[in-house]
Symmetry: C2
Subunit: 143 residues, 2 copies
Amino acid sequence: MEGEPGCSIAGTLEVIGDRWTMLILRDAFRGVRRFDEFQRDLGIARNLLTDRLTKLVEHGVMEKQLYQAHPPRFEYRLTPRGVDLSPALVALMRWGDKWLADGAPPVSLLHDRCGQPLDQAFVCWTCDQTITPLQIRSDKRTA
Amino acid sequence: MEGEPGCSIAGTLEVIGDRWTMLILRDAFRGVRRFDEFQRDLGIARNLLTDRLTKLVEHGVMEKQLYQAHPPRFEYRLTPRGVDLSPALVALMRWGDKWLADGAPPVSLLHDRCGQPLDQAFVCWTCDQTITPLQIRSDKRTA
């Protein structure tokens, strides 16, 4: 599969495709940082939470920072690489909300300044316009 | 997890989170429609391909259409529900390209009309502007 675009998709899913990992990331985007907060919010077993946070740190998606020295206490923050997962999480969530959920979606994503729902779009900055999925061409790189 | 936003993300991954499924969808977006074409392009075993296509049809993501009566021949097309997966696949691919790939990404996504690379952005149509991940607020619905 070397050089296949599926690699990038499959590779991303190897990092974030686990359900608990997704939920931890979602909490992190909402500002959760401390082990006990994740644990309480998700109702996840402590050993599973430790495992998932350790993997996220290993993948460079989150970083562990000391926030108190005595006794030592750590918090987990999204790195720039982690923040950059936002389009993927939002896209997966929006599709599920639209096509799988019954009734109103459990969480709304809003523009913080105006409080209105956000949209996610493909943009061509050259033409200065949004484009539809059917206006996308994919070019395979030839060696 | 009823009512949890993780549901929408996890639910979406239950439909498309399998590696072969992702590759089939990627081919479908590139215009591949026939069983033998998918099979040749992906080098996938025929029983696995049958299994994945059947599931995609069951989930309403693809539909099977007769394109020749004698002998009967079918092709697989993305439904509107399937086309709507485009933002999720593109977002997963872009993150992998940016953070996991060595060198240039194997596939470029271009605006078909101008041939320039496309971008994917969060948009607030009320404010008529693109917004960053850190300008998103998520509101949990309260019952």
